[in-house]
């Protein structure tokens, strides 16, 4: 069998496959639920702040941010973007938001899911769940959908303290308290909307499942510190969905991650890398070019192993939740940990952007990266704002160079595939030079 096939440059994990199949089912599940009269919601990715609650109340969620990437890959995004322009929205707004607004306008026109909607589309929701985490689009965009949908909008807040302010006495407790009170109100809102009471036992179990899932996912990613790295970023981006866009059976996801953990341990023991030979270890920031992931295969042929990536998609740093009896407190602490987990060390190291930028300093050091591939996006400020700081800090503090290649989340032609490969070739020399410089400075890699 192998002699007929060309050997793939990236040695993908076997256990990746069932996880990949999981996400696509989310849309059809939602449409089915909607048709059956069950509660449905369009959600922003909320990093497990709202998800456990929705899950426990049996609300089927879909994530329009993810749907933006689906539409872009399908090619229909252009139709949605043009419709959004025609609706009078400025064209500099988030590409995913514009895709969703255009889609929602058509959903209203058709009165049901448009026939050309990829993956079964997103049906009219009974609820829109905002998140204030990371960017403004993620609470303004759903508000603007009032033109097309009569679903109420609820905003779940995540505090964004400054690194300095977060370490002040009492700051942590106050922020957690704020989140917990907010979640309590969210539950009251849902109970009224859905005309049913929260099942607190189910919530308790759900929260624990999420925590366990993320803990497992964290351990899997820890194993990537090994040389050679057993898991490429491509597998990360495929498999993160079970954690970030939770849908379907949580226990099933837990099992799939468990299988993945076993496969990873096995690879580490046998020194099997995702890329062989592993000439360069790279970090990638922030959102990958979803439509052109095969560029990584071509880079792998040059010995580029992407060993860590996308801070925002990574699970929180582990912490002890065992003596927290209130599930809402556990929820708040997990999400807050995801966002601020690096802040204490950031402050110690004199870094002020404790999320997005500083974590890459730790990633690069812990995963021993030779270079960073930075991917600014024309229509996503959030994933682009910090990249210049990242480039600067990585060079200043760790003597690690970055290569920058522009792209976009919905205008896929913005990414120059051939140009990226040309740049990569030149970048190898730069990485080699800095490897030398780090050696001379007595650094560990």
């Amino acid at each position: 069998m192998v002699t007929e096939q060309k050997k793939k440059a990236i040695n993908r994990l076997q256990t990746m496959r069932p996880l990949r199949a999981n996400i696509d089912k989310t849309y059809t599940r939602m449409v089915e639920a909607s048709k059956a009269g069950k509660p449905t919601a369009w959600c922003m990715v909320n990093w497990w702040e709202a998800d456990p609650i929705l899950y426990a109340m049996d609300v089927a969620g879909v994530y329009p941010e993810n749907y933006g990437a689906v539409c872009a890959a399908d090619g229909i995004a252009q139709v949605h973007l043009e419709r959004c322009d025609a609706e009078g929205f400025p064209n500099y707004l988030c590409g995913y938001a514009r895709n969703c607004i255009g889609y929602a306008a058509r959903l209203k026109d058709f009165g049901e899911v448009p026939p050309d909607a990829p993956l079964g589309g997103m049906d009219k929701p009974m609820l829109l769940v905002n998140s204030t985490a990371l960017c403004d689009a993620r609470y303004k965009w759903f508000q603007s959908l009032g033109r097309y949908l009569d679903a109420p909008v609820w905003t779940v807040e995540l505090p964004h303290p400054g690194v300095k302010e977060s370490q002040r006495e009492g700051a942590y407790e106050r922020d957690i308290n704020f989140m917990v009170e907010g979640l309590r109100e969210f539950i009251a809102f849902l109970e009224h909307l859905l005309n049913k009471k929260m099942d607190w036992d189910k919530l308790d179990e759900t929260v624990n499942d999420f925590i366990a899932l993320n803990r497992l996912w964290h351990e899997i990613n820890e194993l990537r510190k090994a040389r050679p790295c057993p898991m490429h970023s491509r597998d990360f981006w495929t498999c993160m969905t079970a954690s970030l866009y939770p849908g379907g059976d949580l226990k099933e996801s837990l099992k799939l991650y468990q299988d993945m953990f076993e496969e990873m341990k096995d690879r580490v023991a046998k020194k099997i890398g995702a890329v062989d030979p592993e000439k360069y270890r790279l970090v990638f920031a922030e959102l990958p070019p979803w439509h052109d992931l095969k560029i990584f295969d071509e880079l792998a042929e040059r010995g580029w192993n992407f060993v860590v990536e996308s801070w925002a998609y990574h699970p929180p740093k582990p912490m002890d939740y065992s003596n927290i009896s209130d599930p809402l407190e556990r929820i708040a602490k997990q999400t807050y940990q995801w966002f601020t987990g690096y802040f204490k060390d950031a402050l110690k190291n004199g870094e002020h952007m404790g999320y997005f930028a500083y974590p890459y300093l730790e990633f690069v050091r812990d995963y021993q990266c030779d270079g960073a591939f930075l991917h600014p996006l024309l229509s996503c400020r959030t994933a682009t704002n910090h990249l210049m700081m990242v480039q600067d800090r990585l060079m200043q503090k760790l003597k690690v160079p970055s290569m920058v290649m522009e792209g976009d989340i919905v205008d896929l032609k913005a990414f120059d595939h051939a140009g990226a490969l040309r740049k990569a070739e030149a970048f190898e020399e730069i990485m080699d030079n800095y490897k030398q410089a780090r050696r001379e400075a007595g650094m560990a890699w």
Binding site: Q78, E82, D85, A86, E87, G88, K413
Partner: protein, 269 residues
Amino acid sequence: MTKVVILDTDGVIRARVVGTTGAEHRRLANKVMEEALEQANLSFDEIAYVIATGYGRINVPFADRQVTELSCHAKGVASLFPSVKIALDIGGQDAKGLKIRNGELVDFVMNDKCAAGTGRFLEVLADTLGLKLEELGSISSKSTNKLKINNICTVFVRMEIVSRLSEGTPLEDVVAGVHDAIARRAVNMIKRLKIEPDVVFTGGVAKNIGVVKAVRENLGCEVFVPEEPLLSGAVGAALLGKEYTLKAMAKGEPVQRKERRLEEATFFK
């Protein structure tokens, strides 16, 4: 280009001139005016009111008033097509959408930032293909399988059509594709005004039958084109001037006129 229309109080057009003034339009508007006066067999002092409109409107020393081309086009188009609700105007350097009710402008959209939806787009591409602008329409009418162009930027489209031609795509399909691209761009812009019939298409680009066809296809409805698509702005300006004059006369008031001289703009010397 500088266009002049002279009309009388009965609304009859006494002169119509389209003069190529090029980069010197600021200085030479008076020359085109002189040509129009000759055509109408009138002297400058016999003109009751002059309205200047368009890009160079502030550089006309012999105008009584400046009015935007948006209002003037709306007026002009409505006089030619009384049932018009939406007008699309694509000129050499900009594109406009006008919403018209009861002969008046009520809303508008404009593209004056990006070459891609304007006459410039066609100029650049015609040049790339070694064709004259006037030839584009008839060439595209032979197309049976128009090229789908996905790029939005003029520079990239240029690259795309060159490579398609070298791959063997027939010229007429490429030209039809170019027409479709500009039409699509324009139609997307005017969709912000909520399309309602009747739709009128004016401006220099409306002389290209290929683009007119593409606009019809992209809109999915009938599109009317005036006989002289370049003149609707000037016609509208003249009609507005007529309105002001008649209103003043009816009230027994003097027609407001600035001190004006028919000569070159002097502030560029």
